[in-house]
């Protein structure tokens, strides 16, 4: 699974390299702009840090794990 954060920080796009399915998840990431690397990839370290202190993004992470968009390694 490949994750991309759009440049307007309006959400995340997940792409499966297995079956080419694409899922677009709207979520206002503007308060967490540090989580986006220059190429649009997610900065896992900063994302996890944000999840520790912010309930909204923490809930997002739980949902992403639940639906297998993210793995526990994150």
């Amino acid at each position: 699974m490949v994750c991309h954060i759009t440049s307007d920080l309006s959400g995340l796009v997940f792409f499966s390299t297995q079956d080419f399915s694409t899922s677009c998840i709207q979520f206002d990431l503007s308060p967490y702009r540090d989580c986006r690397l220059a190429d649009g990839q997610i900065d896992l370290h900063r994302f996890n840090l944000a999840c520790k202190v912010d309930e909204a993004i923490s809930e997002l992470k739980r949902q992403l794990l639940k639906y297998n968009f993210l793995t526990e390694q994150l």
Binding site: D8, S10, V13, F15, F20, T22, C24, Q26, G40
Partner: protein, 284 residues
């Protein structure tokens, strides 16, 4: 007789191209007809009569594409629009070197706006109107985007107008060069409009996409512009892509590049007043 159509990116050979269709091809494709006869051909089309009897009683023809017959036999009078659909079918079915999005593409100041929409939304009419003004139309049917980039490529083709759109363009741009109307296709009446000469096409190059506009013609409505998020836009572009599921990760990377460099809008309109200023602002 054989005719070659050179669209720039693709080349088609049309075997047994009937004489009656030649004036329309010349009108619409200009010098792209029989251009570079020695260069390789991408797609071979053949036009055949269906049977000996059908030559005399309600004449019908068939279009074969590389020995396949993807369409039903049709009346001779519907050959031009069917040929145009045949070209679309070839490109959408077999080009895996680009990401193809069902969309018109208009270009100004070296920047492209792509306008994806369902059939009947007015995307071809919009592209035709602006293409006959001071924009260039890279396609009225599909955006051809180089893989892993946000750059769209031009095709030398006419625009296709349906039903009321034909009169709309005739009224707004009376001097437009238009083919005879084909009445009674499965999409209604169809006419094609020449948007540029081959010489004008030769001056065009690949350009970056800077905006994606989802148009919707609504009679008697005011111009309504709604900003759309890139995430929503990404999802909609996937929906409008012809070959996203075939080109795989290259398609995803291409959409990423397009989406990250673009603003997204949904618009509804009933006239081109105001719309022109809005589109100009996007490519300033």
């Amino acid at each position: 007789m054989n005719s070659i159509l050179d669209l720039g990116i693709y080349r088609f050979n049309i075997e047994h191209c009937p004489k009656f269709i030649q004036p329309s091809l010349r009108l619409l494709y200009d010098e792209s007809v029989n251009l570079h006869p020695d260069k390789p051909i991408d797609f071979h089309l053949t036009i055949k009569n269906t049977s000996f009897l059908r030559r005399f009683i309600k004449p019908q023809v068939c279009i074969y594409i590389d020995q396949q017959r993807p369409f039903h036999p049709l009346k001779k009078s519907l050959l031009l629009p069917s040929l145009e659909w045949g070209l679309n079918w070839c490109i959408a079915s077999f080009d895996f070197n680009h990401l193809l999005i069902h969309s018109s593409v208009i270009v100004k100041n070296g920047k492209a706006i792509i306008c994806p929409a369902q059939p009947g939304s007015g995307k071809s009419t919009l592209a035709t109107y602006f293409g006959l003004k001071d924009w260039r139309v890279y396609s009225d049917e599909m955006a051809i985007i180089s893989l892993n980039t946000n750059r769209v490529r031009p095709m030398h083709r006419p625009a296709s107008l349906k039903n009321k759109s034909i009169d709309v363009i005739k009224k707004l741009v009376p001097e437009a060069a238009m083919s005879p109307i084909a009445h009674g296709t499965h999409k209604g009446d169809i006419a094609h409009v020449k948007l540029m000469t081959r010489a004008q096409y030769n001056e065009l190059g690949d350009v970056e996409v800077v905006a994606v506009v989802f148009p919707k013609y609504q009679a008697n409505s005011q111009l309504n512009i709604k900003k759309i998020s890139q995430t929503d836009g990404f999802s909609r572009l996937v929906h409008h892509a012809f070959n996203y599921n075939v080109v795989g990760e290259d398609g995803f990377n291409t959409l990423k590049a397009v989406v990250d460099s673009s603003q997204f809008f949904g618009i509804s309109y009933s006239s081109y007043d105001g719309l022109s200023a809005f589109l100009d602002e996007l490519v300033r």
